[in-house]
């Protein structure tokens, strides 16, 4: 059946709310048709990742929306951008690109988006509740919203996220609907359960394996320990959305919608073994280098709890090599101890991330990270070699100035 539009949709399309809204509606309708949607639905919030500068077309589109008088209709947060507005000296973009990147950020704020500049909008004070329909961009935020919060979003990204925000509408397809949230695959982590309770680095590694197994499918994961918290699920989801196109998973006994789909018998089942975890470690460069030139943590942006943990592990010691810590301005405010981290030599990065814009010192060739997502993307983006390790090993390596690996 072809896409059916409501009278309000038609009026937006006809330009009755201005040319900016009409432009957004044309793009939304064309994409909804390409997705096979039969209708649009109302959303209650949006998270926009179009504020990261890729080139002139992205800026032209934002300008067209601003010039056309568009404003977001729902509360809308912004993802990381190409600049750190709180620590501008950290980013080494050429002047012309930096100017365009700044204009892009300003354009999204002019559309009414909140200048949150974070890839972890679920760490902001207000977040969507179970069952809420939203339109979120940024792969790790999408998988967290669907899986951990039980909010409902498809995989939105550049252009479409802001079109949903200014129209307040999204295509009624996929993960917005009950049927799309049903698991079609069981991933058994039972064999790893005891290890995971003792070593949190297993979560991103399990996520890396999950992405490879599931790709676009919704999996039900069994055997995660009862101590699993949001930081663990964040690391797992971010990794799965990098190595695969995972937009939702259920963790049986932990995530809110898992009980709705308790009948898993007869479903395709994959058991994750210790060997598969070891293979994931090797793929992410663990143990491959003695040399480490820098350490980068906080991809996705660190939470208050993770910053506290980092400060505790550092224990006032001074880093011998750069330790980059990515987080949001909102989390940094709530944490309140930025000075203590800085006095250990940690370089706190907000508003952006070390793998998408030039921040690392010249000459850095080998970087240790506790993020499977960072380890997955940084070699191609930055031309560096990576070493995946636990946060404890990351801290010891930063202090020692060489790779310290206890696992």
């Amino acid at each position: 059946m072809a896409l059916q539009l409501t009278a309000d949709d038609q009026s937006m399309l006809a330009g009755e709310e201005g040319e900016g809204v009409a432009l957004a509606m044309r793009v939304l309708v064309a994409t909804a048709e390409a997705m096979g949607a039969e209708r649009l639905l109302d959303i209650t919030s949006a998270h926009v990742d179009g504020c990261l500068y890729h080139g002139p077309a992205g800026l032209d589109f934002a300008r067209a929306l601003v010039t056309g008088g568009a404003r977001v209709k729902v509360p809308t947060s912004l993802n990381v951008a190409s600049l750190d507005l709180l620590h501008p000296e950290l980013v080494r973009l050429d002047r012309a690109t930096a100017d365009d990147a700044r204009e892009l950020m300003d354009a999204y704020v002019a559309l009414g988006c909140r200048p949150t500049w974070t890839c972890a909008p679920y760490q902001l004070p207000e977040r969507p509740r179970l069952g809420e329909q939203v339109a979120w961009g940024e792969s790790n935020a999408i998988v967290f919203a669907n899986s951990v919060l039980g909010a409902r979003t498809e995989r939105y990204g550049d252009f479409l996220d802001i079109c949903a925000a200014v129209t307040g509408r999204a295509p009624a397809v996929g993960l917005h609907l009950d049927a799309g949230r049903r698991p079609t695959l069981v991933v058994r982590a039972d064999e790893l359960s005891a290890d995971m309770a003792a070593n949190e680095a297993l979560y991103p590694l399990l996520g890396h394996v999950l992405g490879q197994i599931a790709d676009t499918r919704v999996a039900a994961i069994t055997g995660l320990p009862a101590t699993t918290d949001e930081d663990h699920l964040k690391a797992l989801g971010a990794a799965a959305a990098s190595s695969g196109a995972v937009a939702m998973f259920h963790a049986v006994g932990i995530t809110p919608e898992a009980p709705r789909f308790s009948e898993l018998a007869g479903m395709e089942t994959v058991t994750v073994t210790r060997e598969m975890i070891e293979e994931a470690r090797r793929e992410l460069g663990a143990g491959g280098e003695d040399r480490v030139d820098a350490v980068s943590v906080g991809t996705p942006h660190y939470s208050v709890h993770q910053l506290e943990r980092l400060a505790e592990l550092l224990g006032g010691r001074r880093c011998a090599i750069p330790l980059y810590v990515n987080t949001s301005r909102s989390v940094l405010d709530a944490f309140g101890e930025a000075e203590a981290l800085a006095s250990c030599g940690a370089r706190i990065v907000t508003d952006t991330c070390t793998y998408i814009t030039p921040i690392l010192d010249h000459g850095v060739e080998v970087v240790m990270t506790d993020s499977a997502k960072w380890a997955y993307y940084a070699p191609a983006n930055l031309g560096v070699r990576v070493v995946f390790a636990s946060i404890a090993d990351c801290v010891e390596s930063a202090v020692a100035g060489r790779a310290v690996t206890t696992w």
Binding site: E33, A34, G55, P56, D60, F159, L160, A380
Partner: protein, 134 residues
């Protein structure tokens, strides 16, 4: 056949053996496939009737498509095996901004396989016509 972005274009066929992530996989300024793991790495998509199952990877592929259309390094047309909103989104935004149409269509399995051996093709709103092999 399903037309996702209606238009008319023709060009040499470039048939990809695997899905392609445009973000990180294609150089915007030259149109060359730079994903070293891709079977067609090193080939240019510019001006081609690009035949591929679907895009893969990041939603930033939409931005790369739009930037390539702006830079005139985009394919002439895209022929897919399955619906791909990420490619359509880039094409629709560029049509709005620059008035340039990148036709995008989905074809059935038979037609798709025939394109594997075609050298030249024409994409129309109502269908795809193979003109080669010469």
């Amino acid at each position: 056949m399903v037309t996702l972005v209606a238009g008319h274009a023709q060009g040499p066929v470039l048939y990809l053996d695997e899905p392609l992530s445009f973000w990180g996989g294609v150089d915007i300024t030259s149109g060359t496939i730079i994903d070293s793991h891709h079977p067609q790495a090193g080939q240019s998509v510019t001006g081609k009737v690009l035949v591929l199952p679907h895009a893969r990877g990041s939603s930033s592929t939409s931005s790369v498509i739009a930037e390539m259309i702006r830079a005139r390094t985009a394919p002439a047309a895209v022929v897919l095996r399955s619906r791909d909103p990420v490619i359509v989104l880039g094409a629709v935004v560029a049509r709005e901004l620059y008035g340039w149409v990148l036709p995008v269509v989905v074809v059935d399995a038979d037609r798709y396989e025939r394109l594997a051996t075609s050298t030249f093709a024409e994409v129309l709103p109502e269908g795809v016509r193979e003109i080669g092999p010469a």
